[in-house]
Symmetry: C2
Subunit: 440 residues, 2 copies
């Protein structure tokens, strides 16, 4: 039975957007949280280098400090929330909190992608919990679903739209036909993209998140280096239009699947059938589609970023840890959902070894024999063509696009064929390749 | 830290479709379950009145009995799974298991809708867990999401497609235009509908499930009698076609929301905008759409019935209870997610008091003055008309449909107006009413 706790004390590192959201929800939803948890959550201390700026929140009774050490040495603080992001000093702070016997809640996917395995080991050594619901899918409780909702299943594959910036840009380009650079600028003006959007648009943020989901799905350590990553900055309106003609939509997908005892974990622009659930996820929303052996397909959809949705996930973790504390059940669930001794050593499959369908757009001089030359080289490399579109003729006799869909092909073979094709005198620009997924 | 448990012993009541699925997943996914839980789950005993029929499962080492009492008296059994469905003897069996100090897992929404509050009280008295993930949304972990995923939020509303039979029928009628009776017969032939489909098509099954979700969302006791319920058996192809013209889709929705400190909890055919996520849920799939104050909208989608999806949820509960046992943390979470002393007494709003938009189809003699008479009566009852379609003229001067959308109106006023309208000599059939939800 539950032990009575008069209150659970929380210390917060980082009073940026998310930190402000957490402080707000703890203040504004106190009543509903207490009615669920049965114990008061007290935000005791907030540490931030800039602690004096007014964030428009009520800080009555909260100690504000620039000295993060206060959180580690305060014996009354039970849970430390890390919301500063990035690798350092976040890593040091999380380690110190865990070593001081504090439970930790973090939203930091970059930190977990790179240092999660070590940090989980430190948490285990110290008998405390390190929770991270907010690190993937913002407010969507996808970590809980993967760790606790589907444990009876063997996961066959998962595919996710995990970055709202990319999905906003691709949705806008699809619906309104703008060029990438223009839509990015618009997203920046609206606050949907950072001034330096590299982490988002190059797929790095998505890859960080996928490394965590892959570990949860297949019982492996987090392996960020094993994730193949390609961003959206080369996507052309022309390819989006051809995709539509074929009945497809282009999304930046995070894909993890087990194929013949190897793990594929990859992030890249992907053409998916327009009637797939993931094709219907528009704008800044995120979604994760999971195919499990018992449940079959399921989908989890919601806001993947932003102050309030992320705070929803952070506070859910605090409450979950609070329930563990009430029942003296810390370390109730292994960090990644699998017992430490039962983690698999299944290797990652290199991208060259994957097999999928491909969309290819060749830029060729409008002259006889080009299609035959391309088809010959593809055939020599075991690439079988499913359909070809050679639309219109150039007005000036210069170049035209030739668009193909392939049957399932090995990526190594495809890349070898394209290297040869792109050396043909009639090919005037590098060939555009977009992977197609027909069976997510 | 976790206590070592050599094994957790499970007893199963009911070896029907779901019971067979549970036995299968425990057998076939032993390895993955053990790697997650760290303890072996042993299916020790199965009780069923017909225990001899071969279900095609490996029962080596499992005690098979027709005497359910064996489960309650066997001290080695930790968890009892109730999968016989219906009110009795399920209720008696669950009570006896709880009283014997067994944790219980059930998929029985009818039982919980009618007797859940009492059974939860028995579980609390005995210090054991009564889990029920499979009772709503089949394999979708919606109970876990509501209890543990969104606890930082005030829930504003939820709306769900919770019955695969109804959604299959409505999807078929929408996509292929068949009549209700024909599509129902087809669903029966395919095994998607029971020989007696009343519980499904009249919305009763959906209302059972909604009564549970409403309690989870708003911190109330389960109140099945407070759920308004209307089924799909009167839906006409004509109304589906008009809905499409207006940009709407008809779904059997379960809706719960808090409006001015009263709870609306209702099940009825509903027109929703075709671009809403719930409008895209086709066939036998289920989905729950939740609007929460911090997270905003989120959606949970998957298979809501069937042997394997339901078994996925049942076994997730067993594993969850197993983790509680390992950490001696039973009763870790209140049964409905809210502390017993913190349950709200917010009343339900009677259906006559709701305010929404309405679709109305009048069947009127094709003669002058009818529309004016209808509009006059609606106006007298404070019903404001948003649009009218009066298509074509009858060939034989007999009757024509007049279709209207109203602005938001109070249901009591609408019903009063329609009673008057349906008494007009020019109105030759009862007016069809379908509620429209534009802001789920």
């Amino acid at each position: 039975m539950n032990k009575p706790w008069a209150a659970i004390h929380v210390g917060l590192i980082g009073l940026g957007t998310i930190g402000t959201g957490v402080a707000r929800v703890l203040h504004e939803n106190t009543e509903v949280i207490s009615r669920r948890l049965g114990t008061r959550l007290v935000l005791k201390t907030i540490a931030d280098l800039d602690i004096t700026t007014d964030r428009g929140i009520d800080t009555t009774g909260i100690r504000l400090t620039t000295d993060v050490n206060e959180l580690f040495t305060d014996e009354r603080i039970d849970i430390v929330i890390e919301l500063i992001g990035g690798y350092e000093p976040a890593r040091t702070f999380v380690e110190r909190a865990l070593a001081a016997g504090k439970h930790v809640v973090t939203a930091n996917k970059a930190l977990l992608a790179k240092h999660g395995n070590e940090l989980f080991a430190v948490a285990a050594e110290n008998g405390v919990d390190l929770y991270y619901e907010a690190s993937v899918g913002g407010g969507i409780p996808i970590i809980k679903v993967m760790r606790e909702g589907l444990p009876a299943n063997r996961i066959k594959s998962l595919s996710g739209i995990l970055n709202g910036t990319c999905n906003y840009i691709l949705t806008k380009m699809s619906q309104e036909g703008g060029a990438y650079a223009d839509v990015l600028a618009e997203a920046q003006a609206l606050g949907y993209a950072e001034a330096d959007p590299t982490f988002d648009v190059e797929g790095i943020d998505t890859a960080h998140k996928l490394s965590i989901l892959t570990a949860l799905a297949f019982g492996r350590p987090i392996d960020y280096d094993g994730v193949y990553c390609e961003g959206i900055s080369d996507i052309q309106p022309l390819d989006i239009a051809f995709a539509r003609d074929f009945g497809y939509v282009i999304k930046l997908l995070a894909i993890a699947r087990m194929v013949e005892d190897k793990i594929e974990s990859r992030v890249h622009p992907t053409m998916i059938p327009a009637d797939h659930m993931l094709a219907k996820i528009d704008g800044v929303f995120n979604a994760v589609y999971v195919d499990a052996d018992r449940l079959g397909p399921s989908l989890y959809y919601g806001r993947g970023a932003g102050m309030d949705p992320t705070a929803s996930a952070v506070v859910a973790d605090i409450i979950d840890i609070g329930r563990n504390m009430q029942t003296e059940g810390s370390r109730r669930i292994p960090d990644l959902g699998w017992q430490p001794g039962a983690v698999s050593e299944l290797p990652c499959r290199p991208i060259a070894d994957i097999t999928t369908n491909y969309y290819l757009r060749f830029t060729a001089r409008d002259q006889p024999g080009v299609l035959s030359a391309i088809a010959g080289i593809l055939g020599d490399n075991q690439i079988s063509i499913a359909s070809v579109i050679q639309e219109g003729r150039s007005d000036d006799g210069s170049t035209v696009p030739i668009v193909m869909q392939t049957h399932p092909a090995r990526e190594r073979n495809l890349k070898r064929a394209l290297a040869e094709i792109d050396r043909l005198p009639a090919i005037t620009a590098p060939t555009v390749i977009i992977r197609m997924e027909n069976a997510l």
